[in-house]
């Protein structure tokens, strides 16, 4: 039983790792009251996916996908890297927007602690 689980874990460990990191990110988003920390949580969440993509591109014993003429080498799959590059750009833009929003929130509310924001919001209502 235990061995089966271990085998199962080892063959798919990149999936589990991705999920674990995602959960860490989600935890930060849920439990941290500071908006900046929430954004960091979001980044961790995204990073999990980047890592997942990179891990699926891996070919055992493969080298970086740069053409080496005349030799018989195994390359790792380059496409996920390209995709993830795009995803990173998207992620960076989202982070930038999130921080900009956090700054604006700070400017208009004077705080970025969510419990205080919540109180301010309910007062206004």
């Amino acid at each position: 039983m235990i061995e089966d689980l271990v085998v199962a874990f080892l063959t798919r460990y990149n999936y589990y790792m991705a999920v674990i990191i995602m959960l860490i990110g989600l935890y930060a988003m849920i439990a941290k009251s500071n908006l900046i920390k929430k954004v960091i949580g979001l980044n961790i969440f995204q990073t999990a996916i980047y890592l997942f993509y990179i891990s699926i591109a891996d070919v055992e014993g493969g080298t970086a996908p740069i053409l080496v003429p005349g030799t018989d080498v195994v390359y790792v799959n380059p496409l996920p890297h390209v995709l993830i590059l795009t995803a990173i750009v998207v992620g960076v833009s989202i982070t930038a927007v999130a921080y900009a929003l956090a700054i604006r929130i700070y400017q208009s509310y004077g705080t970025i602690e969510e419990d205080e924001l919540l109180e301010l919001g309910s007062e206004r209502r």
Binding site: A18, M22, L26, M29, L35, K38, L42, F45, Q46, I49, F52, Y53, I56, L79, P80, L83, T86, A87, V90, S93, I94, V97, A98, A100, L101, A102, R104, I105, S108, Y109, L117, G121, R124
Partner: protein, 495 residues
């Protein structure tokens, strides 16, 4: 010559437009608006041309850089995409026209340039989603438009808009990540990202756990994007605290974009064979949608703020569309896809009315609307037509989708859904008649100050166009139906 390149132009044009707006705004801030409207008008013409091409010659395939799939990125425009594209561009155009005066009071003047640039970037994303045939491209365009949407929601003077935008950003990004991870899973097992290719390669692998996992990730991610009921939490705040023009834009364009992406993933990537036979997710989907229809309406009844009421009504209407898709026979699908058009017309009109009321008399609460019809007759007439349409009474478009959904549910033998559709009619009636009664049949309090209550033409015109659309498309329903029939046949053809 140009006609071959229409799909890519549909993406490039608003992008160029965004840059032009930026440059124009540099020269003089007030040039932004005419440039943006001009760009969107051309874009609308373009989308009509695409629709014509599709109707004439069937699905258009366009290979970027002449690289044939699966290596290159492929743009595919079929009936459904052309149909959605035309609707979305049209609504963007109208809300852009509408934006001119409405943002005057809601946005800092120095942000006007950024506002229109973001507006056009959102259109880039939306158009990209509709024309792309590549699943990763879909993700990228989804994110482009979403990022633009986050900033636009938060662009107003209203402080709560910032929080709403932040929440929206968090939820939206999580959903995008789920979609991304779904794409990753699919890539692991098939090695391709082209939708048509995926649809071809997936069937032998339908029993693989990874496919199931990927599918569920897609579903959860897309449900957040479309604000399907239990995951709708970001929607009410975002809709009600955004500037009015943006409420119009996201309630029509962004929500439809999510629906479109869902349909694409469900039917063009996974195909009916999977979602019906291997993982009976559609049944589940339909039930969730039915709950959304009822729950959204019930919560909407409790709202006192018009925009918020409309937002919850959107939750319910998204459920309506999803119900049609979930029942998944051709009649119900027709109803669901038709409701994409209908809901865009109706909700666009309603949010425009809400924005005009806020703009002119500064009222948000339904209780304050006493005697409004006398002061804003055209606005209230537009609201009346749209409300009737939302309830689903003839002669308005809302009736047509209700009709097809009912027929579809009956055909599928799903009695419960028939009841849900009829019940939602009743619930819609409750909250819309309340507004109508206040606006038309109560006399204004004596102490209400006589405000200037003429709505500017740039706001009134789009509103009336949409209201007229609600009636016109009832009589001319065969025009969209002609396209939808072909689209639905495409989607269900894989079965």
């Amino acid at each position: 010559m140009i006609s071959e390149h229409l799909p890519i132009l549909a993406v490039i044009l608003p992008l160029v437009g965004a840059l032009t707006v930026l440059l124009a705004g540099w020269a003089e801030r007030r040039y932004c608006y005419p440039v943006a409207v001009a760009v969107l008008t051309i874009q609308f013409g373009l989308s009509l041309a695409i629709l014509r091409e599709v109707l004439r010659g069937g699905t258009i395939h366009y290979y970027l850089g002449d690289w044939a799939p699966p290596w290159g990125i492929e743009l595919v425009v079929d009936h459904l995409s052309a149909y959605v594209l035309v609707i979305l561009v049209f609504l963007s155009l109208l809300s852009c026209i509408y934006a001119k005066r409405s943002i005057g009071g809601e946005i800092d003047p120095q942000k006007t340039v950024a506002f229109y640039v973001m507006f056009l970037l959102l259109v880039v994303g939306v158009c990209g989603i509709t024309v792309t045939g590549d699943i990763f491209n879909l993700y990228v365009f989804l994110e482009i438009s979403s990022i633009a949407a986050y900033t636009l929601v938060a662009s107003g003077r209203e402080k709560k808009g910032l929080l709403a935008g932040f929440n929206y950003l968090i939820m939206g990004t999580i959903s995008a990540c789920f979609i991304l991870i779904g794409i990753g899973h699919l890539y692991v097992v098939t090695g391709t990202l082209n939708m048509a290719d995926l649809a071809r390669l997936l069937p032998p692998l339908y029993d693989s756990t990874i496919i199931h996992v990927a599918f569920i990730f897609f579903i959860v991610g897309l449900s957040i994007k479309t604000a399907l009921f239990p995951l709708h939490t970001w929607l009410p705040d975002a809709y009600s605290h955004a500037p009015s023009a943006i409420s119009v834009l996201i309630s029509t364009v962004i929500s439809k974009m999510g629906i479109y992406a869902t349909i694409r993933i469900l039917f063009s990537v996974f195909t009916v064979g999977f979602i019906v036979d291997h993982l009976p997710i559609l049944e589940f989907f339909a039930w969730v949608a039915a709950i959304a229809v009822i729950a959204g309406s019930v919560i909407a009844i409790a709202q006192t703020d018009l925009k918020r009421m409309l937002a919850y009504s959107s939750v319910s209407q998204m459920g309506y569309i999803m119900l049609g898709i979930g029942i998944a026979n051709s009649v119900a699908m027709t109803g669901g896809v038709l409701h994409i058009l209908n809901h865009a017309l109706i909700k666009g009109c309603l949010f425009m009315v809400a924005g005009a009321i806020i703009y002119r008399v500064g009222l948000r609460k339904i209780d304050d609307f006493k005697g409004l019809a006398g002061r804003m007759p055209y606005t209230c007439a537009a609201f009346f037509i749209a409300a009737i349409s939302m309830i689903g009474l003839p002669p308005t478009v809302g009736f047509m989708s209700k009709w097809y959904l009912t027929l579809g549910a009956i055909e599928a033998g799903e009695w419960f859904f028939v009841v849900v559709i009829l019940a939602s009619t009743l619930l819609n009636a409750i909250y819309f008649w309340r507004v109508l009664e206040y606006a038309y049949f109560r006399h204004a309090d004596a102490e209400t100050p006589e405000l200037e209550s003429r709505v500017p033409v740039s706001m009134l015109l789009p509103m009336l166009v949409l209201a007229a659309g609600c009636v016109v498309f009832f009589f001319a329903v065969s025009i969209p139906l002609g396209i939808i029939d072909a689209a639905v046949a495409d989607l269900l053809g894989g079965a």
